[in-house]
């Protein structure tokens, strides 16, 4: 994108949105002239190819120390600008509106902020809780749900205005909140070991409670088809899966006793589970307290292998085509990335981008990967076939990287 496109891109939507009310004046001819002028302007702008800035290859990088978001362009491998004033963004995550223009940012301090990527500004912000952990947007784009540690529970907001829509108290911390088809959200209860499904398709939320998920679920994922929900457990030596196509879903332990007979290592950072776990026909899952990535057959949910890795995995992310799984590690081994080949389940590449590799994000088709290297103050872009470093982008304590293509994925 050229510099002029970037400049006009921000300005054009503002003008278009702000002007229509003025045309409903008494002088109809003036109105027609106005509309004609606008059409001419639009046509000429369109002809020059800079009418609008498409957002399909944009993204946001969380700058956690400064409470800002860096707007990035994935194709240009460049930072375009910054959105500031978002509060405490440690452990922040975000989701996108279906049109990929707005992002909803879930701050650790309980702030829910809606930002406009094109105008690079905050559109709306509410302090919805004392302490929150993540969120999701409904399949129809109408609702944004936030998972809270303090006071616990899940709160649901109107995606346009951030007005409160529903409050779902749970009596404790909630984790692993995801969206599934049917205007539903699924989340788990850390203290009670339950998973709840909240159906928001009607007037009031309908809640389905599934007990017996296991002790202390710390995070969960849902597959891209919205069918399989997998919760990781801090307090038990297995994970638990739900087939959400069942009614009601029955908890099924997977990888039972995966660490049996082996001392669990101190866990300095909880692993993350997200919808990118499916690699080919298997799930690749980070082991808790072990230097291992665990493989599970996606159909039978039986163990299909283990890969010894450098440290305790935080993220085990399948490249979008599933052919590779990229793994980063917990403190103090968080300077290293390993790449696992999905077919052989062997580590095929290892490198050290620098201390504090906190997050990875693949381009939508996986040809490149962006890494946040916190202590270097850089986002680093790599080719996923040659592993060549293509670019470094300056960022202030970068953590999460989120490309807009997530808008069209269930569970991300």
């Amino acid at each position: 994108m050229s510099r002029i496109a970037r400049f006009l891109g921000g300005a054009a939507p503002v003008a278009l949105r702000a002007t229509p009310p003025r045309y409903f004046g008494p002088d109809e001819r003036a109105v027609r002239r106005g509309l004609g002028g606008l059409a001419f302007l639009l046509a000429s702008v369109l002809a020059s190819g800079v009418a609008a800035q498409a957002t399909g290859d944009l993204g946001l990088v969380v700058e956690r120390a400064s409470g800002a978001l860096l707007v990035v362009d994935q194709s240009e491998r460049a930072a375009l600008g910054r959105i500031e004033g978002l509060g405490d963004l440690s452990h922040a995550s975000l989701v996108y509106s279906p049109d990929e223009r707005f992002a909803y940012v879930f701050g650790r301090d309980g702030g829910l902020t809606k930002v406009d990527i094109l105008e690079r500004r905050i559109v709306a912000r509410v302090m919805q809780a004392g302490n929150s952990i993540g969120g999701a947007i409904s399949d129809d784009g109408r609702y944004v749900a936030v998972s809270n540690y303090e006071p616990g529970g899940v709160r649901v907001f109107d995606a346009d205005t951030l007005a409160p829509v529903a409050d779902i108290p749970t009596g404790g911390k909630t984790i692993g909140l995801v969206d599934i088809p049917g205007t539903r959200f699924v989340f788990s209860l850390w203290d009670q070991g339950e998973t709840w499904i909240a159906d928001l398709s009607g007037k009031a939320p309908q809640i389905t409670k599934i007990t017996g998920m296991g002790e202390n679920p710390y995070d969960a994922l849902v597959t891209g088809d919205g069918r399989t929900y997998i919760a990781g457990l801090f307090g038990a030596d297995h994970l638990t899966a739900l087939d959400l196509w069942q009614d009601p879903p029955q908890p099924k332990p997977i990888l039972p006793g995966y660490a049996e007979g082996r001392a669990g290592l101190p866990v300095y950072k909880m692993p993350h589970l997200e919808g990118w776990a499916l690699a080919g026909t298997d799930f690749a899952l980070p082991a808790m307290g072990q230097h291992e990535v665990l493989w599970v057959d996606a159909r039978s949910l039986e163990e299909s292998g283990r890969t010894a890795v450098y440290g305790q995995p935080v993220f085990a992310m399948a490249r979008p085509d599933g052919r590779q799984v990229w793994v980063n590690f917990a403190h103090p081994l968080n300077d290293t990335i390993q790449v696992i080949d999905t077919l052989s389940k062997q580590v095929i590449h290892e490198f050290k981008p620098g201390p504090g590799v906190l997050h990875m994000e693949f381009t939508p088709r996986g040809h490149e990967v962006w890494l946040s290297v916190r202590d270097a103050g850089r986002v680093m872009v790599y080719d996923t076939e040659t592993f060549e470093k293509l670019r470094e982008i300056e960022a202030d304590s970068p953590s999460g990287i989120f490309f807009t293509a997530r808008a069209h994925k269930t569970g991300l």
């Binding site: 956690r64 120390a65 405490d88 963004l89 440690s90 452990h91 650790r108 301090d109 004392g130 302490n131 952990i133 540690y149 303090e150 911390k173 850390w190 202390n216 710390y218 801090f234 101190p266 866990v267 300095y268 950072k269 909880m270 403190h331 103090p332 504090g356 916190r374």
Partner: protein, 99 residues
């Protein structure tokens, strides 16, 4: 070569050395912050700002840091931190000057 060895010896951190305040403060916010929040207001783990640590003294806090709290996600930091470093962190948290 000798100079390099001397430099390395000076740069290395022997057990009796003064804790590296800058590195430890960073660790508190970045790594303790994984669970307790970058601003230490809590997350999966509790609020560990000075106002919330009234029930702790330096020794009990140092013990929690070194040995963790069994049955909870609070891990033992003894594999990574010396007793002096844990005491420094305990003081740092109780003083709470970073608020």
């Amino acid at each position: 070569m000798n100079r390099l060895a001397l430099l390395l010896a000076l740069l290395g951190a022997p057990a009796w050395a003064e804790p590296d305040a800058q590195a430890l403060a960073r660790l508190v916010h970045q790594d303790c912050g994984s669970c307790h929040g970058l601003s230490l207001k809590g997350g999966l783990g509790p609020d560990i700002r000075a106002v919330s640590l009234g029930h702790h003294d330096r020794e009990s806090l140092q013990a929690v840091i070194l040995d963790g709290i069994p049955g909870t996600p609070m891990p033992p930091w003894r594999p990574l931190l010396s007793a002096a470093e844990a005491a420094w962190i305990a003081d740092y948290l109780l003083k709470g000057e970073d608020e």
